[in-house]
Amino acid sequence: MSLAKRIIPCLDVDNGRVVKGVQFVDIRDAGNPVEVAKRYDEQGADEITFLDISATHEGRGTTIHMVEEVASQVFIPLTVGGGIRKVEDIRTMLNAGADKVSINSAAIYNPDFVKEACDAFGSQCIVVAIDAKKVSAEGEPNRWEIFTHGGRKETGIDAIEWALKMESLGAGELLVTSMDKDGTKSGFDNALMKEITSRVKIPVIASGGVGNLQHLVDGVKEGGAEAVLAASIFHFGQHTVEEAKQAMAAQGIEVRL
């Protein structure tokens, strides 16, 4: 009897529609977020993460309405990320029905925002998203740094130190995405995951690079992640969440079936 490893489908939402990951050339519409969320819930998803990529004020309003609608029909934890910059943004999302928010760039511009957010709402609802890229050369010891703007802008911040700092500021969970792997379908950067999961005491969600079910298994077994996040393998019917869980269970990982 113990805690199950979690599978979290991630939905990129733009103006009220689910879109395929932004790293891909052809952005395909993947459906109505409420329908998609219900489908994943029925398949046994352990949580759902929405990444709001709406750049406009109107798109933002649509997202809030979407969260309200999903939360009245889907009774599993919902996380919303993208554009969370102020305490007020967090309150708005929680009031709409989100259970957690994911903070990314705002933490880099102002790390104390993480502490402020945790003090106001509790660590349990504050996820810090870390986008990391390997910066060490071949043959050197591994080193990763934090990047912003979808991996285009370097910050010079060491990813491992950053993870420890976010933990110390009260983050309840870390969502770690390898920008080298994101969109490649070649699996998580498990060296990065392991480095972080072995150093922090809080749960870590592995993200970026899932192309098949074995990658999910590897994220838990090699990367030490408490949860694995994936988008495209679920969106277009390549696999169901249930198949993913069966694959993990078959390799001895405890999951909720």
């Binding site: 009897m1 805690l3 029909q73 934890p77 929680l94 259970d99 309840g172 408490e226």
Partner: protein
Amino acid sequence: MNQKLVAVVDYGMGNLRSVSKAAEHMADSQTRIVVTQDPQVIQDADSVIFPGQGAAKACMQALRDTGMAEPVKQAAQEKPFLGICMGLQVLMSHSNENNGVDCLDLIKGKVSQFDLSGHPALKMPHMGWNQIHQTQDHPLWHSIAQDSRFYFVHSFYVAPEDKNTIIGETTHGQTFPAVLSAHNLFAIQAHPEKSADVGLQLFKNFLSWNGH
């Protein structure tokens, strides 16, 4: 006009919306779910849901500030009462959170932080889906399978003095009491409002429970 009024205690913290939505989802047309800060509504309600997230100190402070501490205490002694997460912990005598906080003292016992020193691989908060082992029969377990998984997120756990109040247990490094019951009171450490079908079933059971 046999309308049933269910009060969801709002002390300004936590995911109240999720709790009221889940209850509404399972309520029949005769049942009204009201999220409230009004002590009078809690007194008038047929049953009470006491949800919660956050810290014990802030929770106790908010209960006193809103004047709800007494009606909540009273409700917990006389009508069907469902405590969730922090709504379980503050029923105890004392919590070790925030350098020590005196709580509602409805169930004798204390609230302590997990000690995971012997379990380097386990994470804190205890976050995610874990099994609840039903150690005693209860009307609220109706149609919920033994060892079903519920969604948890917490770093403290309750330890009642009277072990007979424990009706469900969960293991995270150590086995801890996950569900307590005494008379008309049922309190759970997990979040049924986020526990998919089994959680919704628990709400359904609660809404039709007369407290015996």
